[in-house]
Each structure stands twice: as structure tokens, then as C-alpha cells.
């Protein structure tokens, strides 16, 4: 092992020279590691927070939920026997400043609670009085946003339905907000007793009832599973939905997981970009060290001693880079903590988590190893003779087999660990495959552009045009930086282009999904006896262009053609469905199979079903669907299929019965009103003035909410892109800096033989354009492929190539690189050649 000791001594001596020339190496590694560590820390903080706070977020150990109805007495008695039970109603309504058409109104998400609420956690309100006191009698607590919107303060009156309430406090923190998902309006908290008789919770109205259970403190997760199974058997077919403390905030969890996994992908891509910089830096360093290596060989050092000596040096440097990255990766989330915590509806404490740091360090070390091995292994091919001649030609060819094997193992370990550690194995595998494919294509493109340049240099076109020939020579000739530049620029631009494609597609999706003529309002909970007055008001208005309306009631699918609902895995067969009935074919409906029942049909119940869902469930004409409609079993035969477009913003039901079958069941009416924007305010005042229980949802507000959620995703995308861009830029500056020595030397020689600065700069520009074109073409193709992959496989959204974004990013990136390169060359170009050439002696 003396050779190892010798290697260590050599490494120590060489490291005395300091870190000069390694800043790019350090920056590339540190940035990549920092990005991954930061994303990982935030993700772990959130998931740990969700786990730890699951009980608080849910507001209990378990929750059973029904749509459109209260649990029956028997059901409530059963649930109360399982533990401490609290009953909560959750629904949308209009909060009003008064009665009649003069009042101001705003949509609110009402939570009506019993005395036991909240079972866990505490509601924070201002002024700091007890919750019992605030909700006593006609007391109501409102979110400050709602109070602002209506211009109300504590002590003022607030109307919900026909009930006048008094604002006793403003809501500061709602412990179970994260579990409720994203509501359409600000929160109002009121006691159920105060709402009795307000006409808001009539049978068939749109509301949810939640039964929260507090179990004995020693209830294990296994016991929870057992209980869940029991409850599901007991309440089968009633439409009850179960949730427990382990998945308290599924929406938030899904959201965080999506963004988190996407950012890990971007981080890995960033590390790959950084890896190209690492590789270029190592190669440049080793090239500078060629005389040293040759001398060491001349005096008797073996190949493995030299390999080990330089591996140790780079190992020490990689350690420093990784450490810097980890420090940054810890500091960035802590610095951004107030901002991130404010964005999340669940309590999260951003902190230092060892696991993501270990993960990031591992990725960093593997990346450094992978991108170092190749150039390092080639030092074995440095012949001592290169000392005695111009050593500008680097070592060529493939490293020896054992190094290739080591390289393959390192790559496999990196891919394997990212697949395993990220918790999103498929995605990590796709990403690794994508990055490897991109690298391979880029190496091919670099090779192609070099061969092409060599060919072009021999043609008539290049002769007599020294600027062009110089550029072609620099790209195609020996010892050029072509491969490094194409790789780093190409990979950086590919990631950017991909992010651009994803971003542009998400924005386009928002636009595409917005119906061209969206209704102004959804009116829901219109009672049958209110329908006529309502229609009189809206249909007679010249500003209203269209009014659609349909009856609506909740039903639970029990079985389809004899197969119990639970055996299907489809949203239609899970929980309550909103269903409708009609006598004549609703206007604008297209029948795609079977026949609509005759007018006035009064026979056995018939069903018209949406074609798409029927196909998914395998329903055929003549099949029998049994439904539980508010406690009554209704069996209908499917006699027709319809085309239903849920994205048009209009009314669409999967299941429509013939009118006679359901006319007697309690139901409410739903209506969409298409009106001119100026008339919207007056329509709302008139309708709600007549019938305060009717809830109006402004479609524009709902769309804004969706847009907001997507913007958060887009913002995360931009942050990821920014980090990658930064790494890519550092790599490119590194490449430009590494190439500078050579370029300045060439410029000096060319000046000596009569070239002006203009000619020389033109040549540099042509060179950048050649390399930029090769990288850009690959980036556009790669970005499109990656964008397609992420959208269709991860986001399950359609993908369309967005040429403007792709071209803008690629051209912008190439141009920025060109300018950076020219800026590097400018100053030395002005110097007298002798100074530079002397330094080369």
C-alpha cells in the first residue's frame, strides 16, 4: 500500500496550491447539492408536519362524511357508540349584510358546529373570548376577509339565509382548515342550533355532514384499520366516506407531493448540468497538469499512484463543494420559512432534517465521482513523451475496462438511490433515463457538429474566409471545448426548455379549459317552490342571454347490472352522486346510443347515462342500475347514452332519470345564468333578496381560484428553473473561462499574421453560433420530449408543443452564452500580443 501513501503525499503537495481554478467546480457541485437539500428539507418538513399534526388537522381520529344529508338517527347512534362524536355541517352560502335587495352579499363557506367542536386543537379568535361564548345564541364568527368584503365589524349583524346573526369575533386560526381542502369562499363559523329554521339545510340541498370521532388515546393505527373495516361494512351503500388522522389533508398532501417530486426532478437535472461543469473543470485541471503527470511518470510513478493522487485531490475538493451545498441547502429554507409557512394551510415548522441532507450529499458525491472518473481515468494514457512536445492535445480514447465498470456501477447506484430515496421511483427512473438519453444525444450532436466542421473547413466555402475557417477549426480541431460546451449548454437549455414547455402548457390548459362563453353564475339550492319566481326574474332580463336549469338530488349507486358498487373502482360508484331527472331531452343534448323516453313517460324507471362514464364502467343498454335516493331504493334501466361535456361550465349529470321516477323525491334546482357582466350584481341582489337560501357561485371567482392553485405550481416551476439556470450559467461561464486561455492565444497569433479584432470576434461568434445551434436543436427536441413526459405521465394533462416558448428560451440562452463569451474575449483582444504570447513560452 505504499503507493497509496505516495499518492496521498503527492495529493497533499498539489493541494497546497489552493483552490484557484476550482471555483467553477465548487459552485457547480454546491448549487446542485443545495437545491436538492433545500427541496428535500421543505418536503420532509411538510410531510412530517402532516403526520404529526394529522389528528389536529382532521379535528379527530376519524371522520365519516355524507353529502346532501344528515346521518340518520340509527347511523348517528352507531357512530356515537364508537367514541366521542361531534357533528359538523359544511356548505356554501351567501352571507348578507341585511335582508332584501339592498343588502350586500358574498359567498362564504359555512361550518355549522355542535357544542363538542373542536374535538382536538383550538379555534383562535379575536377578541380573545371563549368559543362557547362567541357561538352562544345568535353569535357568528367570520373570517376577516369576509368581514372586509362586506364592510362589517364585530357587533354588526350578518344574515345567513333567513336568520339574522351577530358577529361576535373574527376567525384567526381554524385548527382543522387543512383537512377541509380548498373552499370557494372565506370561512363563517356558527353553531348548528343557530341555523335551525334558516332554510339552509333542507333535504336535497348541497351540504356535507361530517361526524368526527375521538377514540381512546391508545388507539393504534392497526386498531384504526379494524375500525374502518367495521364501519365500512356497517354503513355500506349509504354513501358514507371515511377519513382518518393518517390522511388528514389529502389535497394538501397531493399538492405537496406533486410539487415536491417535480422539484426533485428539476434538482436532479440541475445536478446533471452541474456534473458537466464538474467534468469540464476536472478535465481542464488535468490538462494543465499534463506536464506534471508526465514528469511524475518519468521519475517512476505508476498509473494507479497518479490516479489515486488526483482522485484524492478531487475528493477533497468535492467534499468542500458538498459541504458548501449542504450549508446553503439548510440556510435557504430557513430564510424562506416565513414565506413558505404562510403559503400552506397546514401547520409546518421548517427545520433541519438529516435525511434530505444525507440524500443530497450522496447525490453530490456520486455525481462528482461519475463526472470525474472519465477524464481522470484517461490520465493513465498520458505518455511521458508528451512532456517533450506541445502537450495541447489531451489524452484520447476510452479509459481501461475497470474504470468503465466503476463508472457504470456509480451511475447505477445514483439512479437506484434516487429512485429509492425520492419515494417516486417511476418518476426518478424516467428522469434518469431522460437525462442519460439527453447526454447521449448531446454527445452525438457534439460529435456531429465536430465532424461537420472538419468537413466544412475543407470546402470552398471556408477557403478565403479565415474567420469562418478559424471557427470551424476551433470546433472540429483537436483539443477544442466543443463537446463540453455542447453538453453543458445543451443540458441546461434542455431543462429550461422542458420547464418552459410545462409552464406554457399549464397556462394554455387554463385558457383552453375556460369555456368560451362561461355562465356568470351557478345558482344552487333553489327550492321547488322558488323556481318560478327565480325564472321570472332571470328569464325576463334583457341582459341575460341564456338560462339553463335542472332539478338535482343526491343518490348513491348500489349496484350496476347486479354487481355491487364497491366492486367498481370509479368515482361514479363512490359516495353520493348528484343526479337529475327530466321528461324531455334537455336542449343541446346529443344522444349517442339508445333512445330517450317518450314525453310524459310513466312506466318503470329509465336512465340516460353519460357515454364516457358508461364506457369506463362497462355499462350497456338494458343494464339495471340500483340507486339509493335519500333512503329509497330506485332501480332503473339504462335506455340511452348522452354526450356530456363537463368542461363547458354548464350543467352536466352522469345519470338522468325519467321525471316520473323521481319527481316525488325531495330535490332542489340548479341553474346557470349567462348574463352581461354589468348586470351580474343586480341579478344577484334581486335573486337573493327574494330567496336568501339560494347560493350564487360566481364562475369568475371559481376560475380565479383554480388559476391561483395552478400559479403556485407554475411558481414552483420557475424557482426550479431559476436554480437550474443559475447552475447552467455557472457551467457556461466555466466553459467560457476555460476556453478563454486558448482563445486569447489564438487571437494574439492571428493579430500577428494580420487579423483585425473584427475578424477575430466574428470568428468567435460563428463558433458560438455553431455550438449553440447544435445544443439548441437538441434542447428543443429534448425539452418537448420531457415536457410531454411530465405532463402526460405526472400531471395527467394533455400536451401540445409550444414553439414560442421553446424558441425564445433556446435563442435567449444561446445569445446569453455568446455575449458572455465575447465579453470574456474583449479585454484581452485589446492587449498587445507579445504579453500574451510570452506567457505561453
Amino acid at each position: 500500500m505504499t503507493w497509496l501513501a505516495q499518492a496521498a503525499r503527492i495529493a497533499g503537495r498539489e493541494l497546497r496550491g489552493g483552490l484557484g481554478g476550482f471555483y467553477i467546480f465548487l459552485a457547480c457541485l454546491a448549487l446542485g447539492v443545495a437545491a436538492i437539500a433545500a427541496v428535500g428539507s421543505v418536503r420532509v418538513s411538510i410531510t412530517e408536519g402532516l403526520e404529526r399534526e394529522g389528528r389536529n388537522i382532521l379535528g379527530g381520529d376519524a371522520e365519516i362524511e355524507w353529502d346532501f344529508r344528515r346521518g340518520s338517527e340509527a347511523e348517528r347512534a352507531y357512530l356515537a357508540s364508537l367514541g366521542t362524536m361531534s357533528e359538523i355541517y359544511d356548505f356554501r352560502s351567501m352571507a348578507a349584510t341585511g335582508e332584501g335587495i339592498e343588502a350586500d352579499r358574498a359567498l362564504t363557506q359555512v361550518k355549522a358546529v355542535d357544542d363538542l367542536y373542536p374535538l382536538v386543537g383550538a379555534v383562535e379568535i379575536a377578541p380573545d373570548i371563549s368559543l362557547d361564548k362567541a357561538l352562544a345564541g345568535n353569535g357568528v364568527i367570520v373570517h376577516p376577509v369576509l368581514a372586509d368584503r362586506l364592510g362589517l365589524e364585530v357587533g354588526d349583524a350578518l344574515w345567513l339565509g333567513t336568520r339574522e346573526l351577530t358577529i361576535t369575533a373574527l376567525l384567526q386560526r381554524e385548527p382543522d382548515a387543512g383537512g377541509d381542502g380548498f373552499g370557494l369562499g372565506p370561512r363563517t363559523l356558527v353553531s348548528s342550533a343557530a341555523l335551525a329554521g334558516a332554510g339552509l339545510l333542507a333535504e336535497g340541498s348541497l351540504f356535507e355532514t361530517k361526524y368526527r370521532l375521538l377514540l381512546p388515546p391508545d388507539t393504534t393505527d392497526e386498531a384504526l384499520d379494524v375500525l374502518r373495516a367495521q364501519v365500512e361494512v356497517e354503513l355500506e351503500g349509504t354513501g358514507a366516506r371515511w377519513r382518518d388522522r393518517r390522511n388528514a389533508a389529502p389535497q394538501v398532501e397531493r399538492f405537496v407531493k406533486r410539487i415536491g417530486s417535480f422539484l426533485v426532478l428539476v434538482g436532479l437535472a440541475g445536478l446533471a448540468v452541474g456534473g458537466v461543469g464538474v467534468s469540464a473543470a476536472v478535465r481542464a485541471y488535468l490538462e494543465r497538469k499534463t506536464p506534471v503527470i508526465a514528469t511524475l511518470k518519468t521519475v517512476g510513478a505508476e498509473g494507479r499512484t497518479i490516479f489515486a493522487a488526483y482522485l484524492m485531490q478531487i475528493g477533497v475538493l468535492a467534499g468542500i463543494g458538498i459541504l458548501l451545498g449542504l450549508i446553503l441547502g439548510v440556510l435557504i429554507p430557513l430564510a424562506a420559512a416565513p414565506f413558505i409557512e404562510a403559503q400552506l394551510p397546514v401547520p409546518v415548522a421548517l427545520g433541519v432534517h438529516p435525511f434530505p441532507l444525507v440524500e443530497a450529499a450522496l447525490y453530490g458525491a456520486l455525481t462528482a465521482l461519475i463526472f470525474t472518473l472519465w477524464p481522470l481515468a484517461r490520465t493513465e494514457q498520458v505518455r511521458a513523451a508528451s512532456l517533450f512536445r506541445d502537450a495541447s492535445g489531451p489524452a484520447r480514447g476510452f479509459p481501461r475496462k475497470r474504470y468503465m465498470a466503476a463508472l457504470a456501477v456509480a451511475v447505477l447506484v445514483l439512479i437506484g438511490s434516487s429512485a429509492w430515496l425520492s419515494g417516486i421511483p417511476e418518476l426518478a427512473l424516467y428522469a434518469s433515463g431522460g437525462i442519460l438519453a439527453a447526454l447521449a444525444v448531446l454527445i452525438g450532436a457534439a460529435w456531429g457538429v465536430r465532424v461537420l466542421s472538419r468537413r466544412l473547413a475543407r470546402t470552398r466555402l471556408a477557403r478565403g474566409n479565415p474567420a469562418l475557417r478559424l471557427a470551424l477549426g476551433a470546433v472540429g480541431g483537436p483539443g477544442g471545448e466543443a463537446t463540453a460546451v455542447v453538453l453543458s449548454l445543451g443540458l441546461g437549455l434542455t431543462v429550461l426548455a422542458a420547464v418552459g414547455q410545462i409552464d406554457a402548457n399549464m397556462r394554455a390548459a387554463i385558457d383552453r379549459d375556460l369555456p368560451e362563453v362561461a355562465p356568470s353564475y351557478f345558482f344552487v339550492d333553489i327550492q321547488p317552490n322558488q323556481l318560478e319566481t327565480f325564472l321570472d326574474r332571470v328569464q325576463g332580463d334583457p341582459a341575460v342571454s341564456r338560462v339553463d336549469y335542472a332539478p338535482m338530488l343526491g343518490g348513491v349507486v348500489q349496484s350496476i347490472d347486479g354487481t355491487p358498487a364497491r366492486e367498481f373502482d370509479h368515482w361514479v360508484t363512490r359516495g353520493d352522486r348528484r343526479i337529475s331527472f327530466a321528461d324531455t331531452l334537455p336542449p343541446g343534448t346529443r344522444i349517442t346510443g339508445g333512445e330517450w323516453w317518450p314525453e310524459g313517460y310513466d312506466g318503470p324507471p329509465q336512465i340516460s347515462m353519460a357515454q364516457e362514464e358508461a364506457d369506463e364502467l362497462g355499462v350497456e343498454l338494458g343494464d339495471e342500475i340500483v340507486m339509493n335516493v335519500l333512503g329509497r331504493e330506485v332501480a332503473g334501466t339504462v335506455t340511452s347514452f348522452r354526450e356530456v361535456d363537463f368542461s363547458s361550465g354548464g350543467i352536466g349529470f352522469v345519470l338522468i332519470f325519467n321525471e316520473a321516477a323521481l319527481r316525488g323525491a325531495p330535490h332542489t334546482w340548479l341553474s346557470t345564468v349567462y348574463a352581461e357582466q354589468e348586470a351580474e350584481g343586480q341579478i344577484l341582489r334581486d335573486v337573493a333578496g327574494d330567496a336568501p337560501n339560494i347560493t350564487a357561485i360566481r364562475v369568475r371567482d371559481a376560475i380565479d381560484l383554480v388559476t391561483e392553485a395552478l400559479s403556485a405550481l407554475a411558481a414552483a416551476t420557475s424557482w426550479g428553473a431559476g436554480a437550474t439556470l443559475l447552475t447552467g450559467f455557472v457551467v457556461l461561464i466555466g466553459a467560457a473561462a476555460a476556453g478563454e486561455r486558448g482563445r486569447v492565444f489564438e487571437a494574439s497569433v492571428l493579430k500577428t499574421v494580420g487579423a483585425t479584432r473584427g475578424t477575430i470576434l466574428t470568428s468567435f461568434a460563428i463558433r458560438s453560433a455553431l455550438l449553440g445551434a447544435a445544443a439548441g436543436v437538441v434542447a428543443i427536441l429534448g425539452g418537448a420530449a420531457a415536457g410531454w413526459g411530465v405532463l402526460t405521465l405526472v400531471m395527467e394533462a394533455p400536451y401540445a408543443f409550444e414553439p414560442v416558448s421553446a424558441l425564445a428560451i433556446v435563442l435567449g440562452g444561446a445569445l446569453a452564452t455568446l455575449l458572455a463569451g465575447l465579453a470574456f474575449a474583449w479585454r484581452p483582444l485589446a492587449a498587445r500580443p507579445a504579453r500574451i504570447l510570452r506567457a505561453q513560452d
Partner: protein, 230 residues
């Protein structure tokens, strides 16, 4: 006068402060004259040659070539002036590593707008005995071969002034003699003025005049006498 230097001094900023390299040098070179620069290592020969070629800026004094004041020209003007007027062979050749021998030689011809640049470059390489190595890159050639390519590159545009730093330094006796013949042929056939830095007594003896530098100062000037010429 083809070249004229008046009271030229050169100081450079070194690591350990300012280094005075050349002191108050005045000399003139006439058309078709051949001047040899000799002196011990480090005496400033290469630096003086750089000043004559406008590749280095004098700290003080005036440098004129073919009636143009080199100290007053900017980099582009100097570059254009060198086209066709001046060829330089560096002590360490300075070939462009990404270009083949042929391309290296053709480049100044192209820059000067010569139509058949590549044919002439090939002929020039032939003349220095490298007709068979036109497609090789500098890294694939020996030091002497690289030196000959550098000479071909300097001589190809038929410059009025050829500045050469130890043009025979790396060559064996026979090749060195051939290169010398080539250099003097340039003067005889095309009327070029030659300034050569050399350690070779043989080469110095063939020059019209030898100038000896010691510690950056003109030490001694030897003119070849008429009888020595015979």
C-alpha cells in the same frame, strides 16, 4: 529606412515590481539589409524583436516601420499593417493548435485577400520540406517541423520585413542550412529586409550587420567588411 527606433525603452510589470528590459535603444535598418541580433540569454533580443513588429508597446521612444509610426497605431491598424508588410517567426512558434499545418500557413494569405491562398500555402510548405505533412495538426509534429511551419507562415505573404526569433534553433545542421538559404532567398528574390535573433555564429556571419545586446543595452555593432563578404 525600413525600420527605425529612437531612444526606445521597455519596462514590464513583473511579480517583484517593474523590470527594465530595454534601455534607450536607437537603431536603423535599411531596405534589403540583413541584421542579426545576438547576445546572452535574457539580454532582451526577443523583446526588441517584438517592439519592431508592433507586438509590444514601447514604454518610451519611437518605433517606425516603412515610414509608419507603430507607437501611434491601434491594434487593428497594426494588424492590417502587418498583412503583406511583416512576417514574424516566434521563438516558440505559436502555431494555432486547432488548425492543420496547411491552414496555419494559409491564414495570413487569406487575411491579405490572396485568391489562391491554399495553393500558395502548399507550395510554401513544400519549400520548407513539409509538403507531405500539410494535413497534420501542430501537436502531431516535432519541434523542428513546427518551426518550419511557422517560418512558412511568416514567409508566405512575401513580407517586406521578416522578423525571426532563432529560426534555426531547433534544427539539425542540414535542415538549418536549408532554412538559412530560404531566408536569404527571400531577401535576394523579393527584396525583404531580415532581422534575425540567433545564437548561431554561422547565421550571424551571413548577416550584413550584427548587433549585440547586453542587459538590454546596445553593446557592439559589427558590420561585415567588404573583404569578409568575399
Amino acid at each position: 529606412m525600413v525600420l527605425s527606433l529612437r531612444d526606445v525603452s521597455l519596462s514590464l510589470q513583473g511579480n517583484a515590481g517593474v523590470v527594465d528590459i530595454l534601455h534607450d535603444i536607437s537603431l536603423e535598418v535599411a531596405a534589403k539589409e540583413t541584421v542579426g541580433l545576438v547576445g546572452p540569454s535574457g539580454s532582451g533580443k526577443s523583446s526588441l524583436l517584438m517592439l519592431m513588429g508592433g507586438l509590444e508597446r514601447a514604454t518610451s521612444g519611437a518605433v517606425e516601420a516603412l515610414g509608419h509610426d507603430l507607437t501611434a497605431m491601434d491594434e487593428d491598424a497594426l494588424a492590417r499593417f502587418r498583412r503583406g508588410h511583416m512576417g514574424v517567426v516566434f521563438q516558440s512558434f505559436h502555431l494555432i493548435p486547432t488548425m492543420t499545418a496547411l491552414e496555419n500557413v494559409a491564414t495570413p494569405l487569406e487575411l491579405a485577400g490572396v485568391a489562391d491562398a491554399f495553393d500558395r500555402a502548399a507550395a510554401e510548405l513544400d519549400a520548407v520540406g513539409l509538403g507531405h505533412r500539410t494535413g497534420h495538426y501542430p501537436a502531431q509534429m516535432s519541434g523542428g517541423e513546427q518551426q518550419r511551419v511557422a517560418l512558412a507562415r511568416a514567409a508566405a505573404p512575401r513580407p517586406d520585413i521578416l522578423l525571426a526569433d532563432e529560426p534555426t534553433g531547433n534544427l539539425d545542421q542540414a535542415t538549418g542550412a536549408a532554412i538559412m538559404d530560404l531566408l536569404f532567398g527571400l531577401r535576394d528574390r523579393h527584396g525583404a529586409t531580415l532581422v534575425l535573433v540567433t545564437h548561431s555564429q554561422e547565421l550571424a556571419d551571413r548577416c550584413d550587420r550584427t548587433i549585440r545586446l547586453v542587459d538590454g543595452r546596445l553593446d557592439r555593432e559589427t558590420r561585415r567588411t567588404a573583404e569578409a563578404a568575399e
